[in-house]
Symmetry: D2
Subunit: 265 residues, 4 copies
């Protein structure tokens, strides 16, 4: 199946950005089991990795290839280290702008995908689930939907740095990534702040799919974000089920998220 990896110089992160991709354009459509998605041109999916992950995670542990083929999606997998896909506020550290703006622009110019908002979805797991929601809300004109699996909605935990125990990231790393904890809850790095701002602006807000395993340590923070969306009467879909923070869960809910997002397109 058509796939590759490439790099280009991205101003927003002042680095050569690597990304992997899978394209649904080198096989016979008649061989697809479920060709219903081939009545339309391919849509695009930006797919985000988790903490300590990299762009090839979805290729190896996951099934970017199968997603591309079954759903007629051009899939693009950037790699941004442990940035939480957030802008640090200076050129060279703007990971949100990279994933939500510069990369889709580059894909549009280079491959002719990500042409319209309706054609473009963003998804991720864990840190990438947070990134998918946050990036979609920061760039609502780029994405029509986001799919957030087992998402690390850690803003409140980070805001209480020093009070709550942070299990994974060293404190100095947290400060590099999230900035000053004291002002974090009111900042653009909080997806809730972005959501309310988009609503106030009267913007069309990307649809949101959330899934979380009931045995996942991130179950609690996903309930918090779910309740926020309920209170805001957002256009979203939430589901949970048995499962921990693992590929077993992601492989089960990944197609469910895609079906929901594509049916709402």
């Amino acid at each position: 199946m058509a796939s590759g990896r490439m790099e280009f110089h991205a101003d927003s992160i002042m680095q050569h950005a690597n990304f992997s991709f899978v394209l649904p354009n080198d096989f016979i459509i008649e061989e697809i089991k479920n060709p219903k998605h081939y009545d339309r041109p391919a849509k695009s999916l930006i797919l985000l990795h988790g903490l300590t992950g990299t762009d090839t995670d979805w290729l190896f542990g996951g099934v970017a290839q199968e997603m591309s083929k079954q759903y007629n999606l051009a899939v693009f997998m950037p790699t941004t280290g442990n940035s939480f896909y957030l802008d640090r506020g200076y050129e060279g550290g703007n990971f949100a702008s990279f994933v939500g703006e510069e990369l889709p622009d580059y894909i549009r110019d280079t491959f002719g995908y990500c042409l319209t908002r309706e054609d473009t979805i963003i998804a991720g797991l864990s840190m990438g689930g947070f990134g998918a929601v946050h990036t979609a809300l920061q760039f609502p004109d780029t994405f029509s939907a986001c799919i957030a699996l087992s998402s690390a909605f850690v803003i409140r935990e980070v805001a209480e740095l020093g009070k709550r125990k942070n299990s994974i990231m060293p404190e100095k790393m947290v400060r590099d990534v999230f900035g000053d904890p004291k002002t974090l809850l009111e900042s653009d790095r909080n997806p809730e702040v972005l959501y309310r701002r988009r609503k106030a602006e009267g913007k069309e807000i990307p649809k949101i799919y959330l899934a979380i395993g009931r045995e996942d340590s991130l179950y609690g923070v996903n309930q918090e974000f779910r309740h926020f969306l309920e209170e805001e009467q957002a256009d979203f879909f939430y589901e949970d089920g048995p499962g921990i923070h693992s590929w077993d869960f992601w492989n089960e809910y990944r197609p469910r998220g895609l079906e929901w997002a594509l049916s709402r397109g």
Copy 2:
């Protein structure tokens, strides 16, 4: 600089075809020393490796990146083993059709390059120099020009298999690649046959650039092909100079070939 490697399933060779690429689309044009080539959209260059080579040869030993940047070229480097870029006459072994038809088609669909004949050049060194000329003549509607460095015009040598000594390829390999030596001179695998056919058809024939080192063991066969083109009054340019079969020679004549081909576009 924007570069990558990808693969796709190619029917003509019934394999996943790997190719590398460099794209002139991620830098500030003002930084280019000689920006005259940026008054136009990027052109495309299919770039062929030599015997025992592979798609990354031009990246490592050569300078695909510099060619892309200086001349505003999207460069695509396929890899086809020791096929001499010839069709073997069955689906799964058609390397000419792969390089001259399926790959440009795929590039057009995927990247939006190779859009017109005027925009598309093919080049190569050694076996790839033969391949550049032969492929351009087999697909004159795809390519406007070809650049052939130190080309392995070995058709006559192969036709006399058993009479002349063949220094590099084992005899059975030669038969696999070129077919029956007895009928080779009159076959489509002979660039001269293709040239005469295109002329008889009244086709617009791709322009040809030839360069060869005077100390190269392929100097003689390049004189033969040069004389053929003179007799046919072809639109071509020939030059030679001191040099053997090495990157020193290719790096000197590569830009000369490009300048000539682009100025004639």
Copy 3:
């Protein structure tokens, strides 16, 4: 997880050979669900793709990563086009020697794996299943076991070229790959010939694992080879089950084959 792709110049196929690899050497052993395979140094697995496939097949559609991690295996995935992993009898076309001799030698020199026969297994699916059995029998000092999934034991079919219908490969391609059909059954390209020769030589013969889906069109030829091994009283294990020529089947029988081969080591 540690993984990569590299190329080197291989004399046996006179080309730059690409291979992908996954190495079980960058994670905490305590995190492995089933650490029983970590009481020993890592073993090596050469893993072969099927017709029209490539070295990344096992990475994308399959689960080389999971095999490496669960079983403490360094996995190496060469790519050789549609060669059926057979020697064509001339340097530059010797794919069996490449996979069974030059590649393991290169891996030994470069990575320090494939050190002993007991440490080295070869596996494959479809054309690669045939290749795994054939290569193990051609190089019994290199491999202690082979795992052959849904194998294309097509020697008899090819020998009757023109009589039986060959569904996939064009006739001329078959001749390029297998040589003269008239002498094929008695040649080294027939795994049965190799098996009998190794037995006559008193060689230790690699153990063989065979699995085939009952709905696979290759079911019949797998029965033929199974009966041959029974008559020879070979050290082998055969099993079948519901299934066609697909990753569903391969993912089910892949670990079964590995468990069997490793338990017999």
Copy 4:
């Protein structure tokens, strides 16, 4: 030539680390123009990119392949973004420890290179020139020599952040990378501090090669570091010549640095 790219999970940077490599182990030694370096086993070279660069820079714009072949060097090119190859002081941000400790360890385990101090050299250009000197001094037991081309010795400039104009990096990025400017001059991030400490410890200090173009804007800071080394009576070699911050300069002084470092081994 043998080359590839791989990734592994590196604890020191809490990410999957990508690196490219070229290995001098797949060609006939008799074909080397200058085989004097083949009387010994291959040495290892860790090769660092500059600001905004990536691991493939030395492959594309430079000549890792030629360095490997001519000098019998296994060349490893990590990629670490704009880290200046410095430890940030928390696991997940320790780029010096990654390049100077975890990567050589991983290479030793995986490839059997970087076996001894005498066998291991570190080199780089611009930010990577700074990184080569700094890393060698932080890990003097790992490296016997470092080669620093057009090095960004920017410690003093950074320490005066706000007073001197910083032309390339945004201020907040500088603080992320270098920490508090007020304490920088006395910190481990200053190569001079490391040099004096190693001397006080009676350690064997890696030999240092410095080269800088006279028209390079970094010429002045290279003079400062040169004078420091003179005062310390260090074992180093300095040279300059016409040139700016470009591959023309690096390609000229790269082999000179290697010749010096290897002759002093």
